[in-house]
Amino acid sequence: MSSSNPSDSSAHSGAAVLATGPALRLDGVRKVYGTGENAIVAVDHASLTVDGGEIVALLGPSGSGKTTLLSIAGGLLAATEGTVVVGGEDISGHSPRELTEFRRSKVGFVFQSVNLVPFLTAEENLLVVSELAGARGTVRKQARARAKELLAELGLSHRAGNLPAQLSGGERQRVAIGRALFNSPALVLFDEPTSALDTKIGEQVMELIQSEMRSRGTAAVIVTHDTRMTHYADRTVRIVDGVLGLGDAAGDDH
């Protein structure tokens, strides 16, 4: 299996690979929805290693299992079979409670559709989970400072007090990125981050994702079905019918 592991590809380019080992390791991951006749194999024996700081594009047509794979890596969905290790933590056998804690502290997720709480401002959207987890005193103070800092970095300081409805699509996506980075994860998972944006804004968002990941040395898996977006990644992994395969290095467009 390891010979076909796409992470063995030597196409790794500029990202700072941290010495702490891979950000994500999937080993023989299989996901079957339903049982018996209705069983759908969404992901079939997928193995993938994403190094620290590496940006991987996961490219595949609709229904190929991209979201399923990302959900498994992000601790939202339990694999039917296989091992999932994120930042050195094996989450394969985690209880729902442990997975909640894991999602809160170890991984960032930018979802395809709903990413922001509509009745919270941009800044509150960054803070909400730490608030709900009971941040008090200095922890809370630090969280607020971090939210301000992140928003400033993302060029959103002037939007900190705005509700999502008052933001443009690109701004909303930037807030979502800030929210995903808030807990300083080693790995951020993006599910079609540009699908709701027009091409120009989409490219800006991809550039932002790329530079934010690079500057932090954060690894990322970016799901897309758009080959024009893959050149922002260090490496592209294809998925068809739940099966992973090698893609061209640094995207398909050159």
Binding site: T67, L76, F119, L127, V128, V129, L132, A133
Partner: protein
């Protein structure tokens, strides 16, 4: 706290409307309860606010003062029952009287001066000390029953008019929603004879009993019922609660009150269920990015408490305004205990019905965030 308050701050109209609706309903509950108390007081305030520990009725009267007569033998036997310190006659009757230049119906109670059966809520003047003196209900002071006014019992043919002078006013001593006078038993006798000149003997309606110090009125009342044939002893509270009019008034009101008590929690429960459904996407997102379910449930419950308490504050304000208007002559007063008790009951019921929304929150599957569906029933 953070999530609950942020949401309410940004949906002021929605939460404000709910708090307003809860406030109105709680106000209606408070008002109905006060109305009931006022009405009950007008029916049997005279029994509630008199000094006898036990009232002994004729067993056939079915706890109705109007239909009760106690015979002299029975009265003697009652006085001999253990635990009875004083047993004195108490007469009650409805008479046509001339008061404030107007003929009207009034109830006259006759009790033995200094004995049990005297009004206990005197607020002005004094108790009667001689024949022809009476205490009136303060509620009717303006209708010709104020201190110094004279009230004349209109006699039947052959009878002699008899007149009482009001020397004191007592609170909540009405009976059967009529103007009410308390006078001495001899005065009551004279009034009886005015309308029924042929009566040989005027018998008491009930016997008013004062129990010996330390005796339990309930025990004494039961002892009298058991010992004296054809009588039924009732404590003051029993006489009030089991009075035929009171029971039926209470029953009609309790149906209405029960409905209100049910409507408030249903409205809040439904509201929060709908709101929870509407923001399922946001709740799913929060679960997906690592919020435990507990804080989300807590946030919901905080909102329920906030809405009910705001509603209760509004209701108390409205109730207070209504009491300034006098509540249609029913003498509605704002008392802290009923307000607090009602608020507490409504709050508990609202929390119970919001369990439907809580259940919904607990059933959120964070995986739904990846599909954007958010709602998974």
């Amino acid at each position: 706290m953070f999530l609950a308050l942020s949401e309410m701050r940004r949906a002021k109209v929605r939460f404000g409307l709910l708090a307003g609706a809860v406030g109105l309903l709680v106000f209606l509950i408070l008002f109905q309860q006060a109305l009931l108390t006022g009405l009950v007081n007008q029916f049997i305030g005279a029994l509630k606010n008199q000094s006898a520990d036990v009232l002994v009725y004729n067993a056939q009267a079915r706890k109705n003062l109007e239909g009760s007569i106690v015979l002299p033998d029975q009265a003697t036997a009652i006085a001999a029952v253990e635990g009875v310190a004083v047993a004195a006659p108490l007469g009650e009757g409805t008479f046509t009287v001339l008061a404030g230049d107007e003929e009207q119906d009034a109830v006259i109670f006759g009790y033995e001066l200094g004995g049990p059966g005297a009004p206990t809520t005197l607020i002005e003047g004094r108790l009667p000390e001689a024949d022809g003196e009476a205490v009136a209900s303060s509620r009717n002071a303006a209708d010709g029953f104020d201190i110094g006014d004279t009230v004349t019992v209109v006699p039947n043919p052959g009878g002699t008019a008899t007149t009482f002078t009001v020397v004191g006013l007592a609170e909540e001593i009405n009976y059967s929603v009529a103007p009410t006078l308390f006078t001495d038993f001899a005065g009551y006798e004279t009034a009886r004879r005015a309308v029924n000149p042929d009566a040989t003997q005027v018998l008491p309606s009930v016997i008013a009993v004062r129990v010996v110090d330390g005796a339990d009125p309930t025990v004494v009342a039961d002892a009298i019922t058991a010992a004296v044939d054809g009588t039924e002893g009732l404590t003051r509270q029993q006489a009030v609660d089991e009075s035929p009019g009171v029971a039926s008034v209470r029953q009609s009101f309790s149906v209405i009150l029960l409905l209100f008590y049910l409507v408030v929690p249903l409205v809040t429960g439904l509201f929060f269920l709908i709101v929870t459904f509407q923001k399922a996407g946001a709740l799913t997102l929060l679960r997906a990015i690592g919020s435990p379910a507990g804080p989300l449930v807590r946030s919901l419950l905080i909102q329920v408490v906030a809405v009910v308490l705001s509603g209760a504050v509004l209701a108390t304000g409205l109730f207070w305004l209504a009491s300034l208007g006098g509540g249609g002559g029913l003498g509605i007063t704002v008392e802290p205990m009923p307000v607090l008790a009602t608020t507490l009951v409504v709050l508990v019921l609202a929390l119970l019905t919001s369990l439907a929304a809580v259940r919904r929150v607990l059933r959120i599957d964070p995986i739904a965030a990846t599909t954007g569906a958010g709602v998974q029933v």
